[in-house]
Point group: C2
Chain length 141, copies 2
Amino acid sequence: MNIGEAAKKSGLSAKSIRYYEGMGLVLPSFRKDNGYREYDGDKLQELVFLRHARQFGFSLEECKRLLGLLRDPNRRSQEVHELVANRLADIDQRIADLLAMKRVLDEMSGQCPNNEESKCSIIDTLAGKAPRQTLSGGSHE
Amino acid sequence: MNIGEAAKKSGLSAKSIRYYEGMGLVLPSFRKDNGYREYDGDKLQELVFLRHARQFGFSLEECKRLLGLLRDPNRRSQEVHELVANRLADIDQRIADLLAMKRVLDEMSGQCPNNEESKCSIIDTLAGKAPRQTLSGGSHE
DNA sequence: TGTTGACCTTCCACTTGCTGGAAGGTTTAA
DNA sequence: TTAAACCTTCCAGCAAGTGGAAGGTCAACA
């Protein structure tokens, strides 16, 4: 199949597929005489795999490693597990950061008069004029 | 004060301060004869404000609007409140996305044998071979 | 046969928010 | 005087693509 069909079936854009190819992730099965890329079932499966991995937030570098493991019949599941564990640690960190932001922004939001007046505790807090609301919780800055 | 001192006191890097200037966010008070940037207390406060706003995840465009509001004595706190509300909605969305990823990755991680064998349900799931674990929860894809 | 439209190709530019480095000018202290 | 530590501008690059230009190809239809 051509790149357009591979795109439709994999859920990726043709642009992305070309980009991933340039990054060395998934090459087409071969090129036809007219230069068109040709993808077979195996390659399509790799593209789907890639889309899933990206949806879980793996970087292209990590996707490259995952594809290597997908292709390697002698892989150790340990290695796959480790990549997922790293990803999970990263996600946990991001969630914690976002929750810390949310907590303080919620607090700030609730204290803003939200009217036609200029007085605004959000502005004061960001400017460092109001009682400190830090992301880290401590009073050190 | 020079950019180096402004950087130290604001917690930003000199590179970032120059970048923000290029983006039209915070200009130095003036340039000295030798071309060096000079920052006074007000400008330093704006830089600190900027650092805080960035720490809360506001984009530079949003920071630009926030700085405009900081400087505007006739601002309406409504406007500030709205920016924060938008930011909060974005944060909530991100958290929800990350939690959905985490949920599925946790599940996958627990099912992987995590040993020397090649059999790995994580790989199978990403390849779409195993019982579907989707981020959206539905069976539609 | 012509031509229209939908494909496909490559390449370059743009995005966000910086960071690093090169090449060079200034200031300060020993 | 000279070295270190500033400062200046500009250029390149990161992730992970998207958009568009310029052009080749293919299938269908009159």
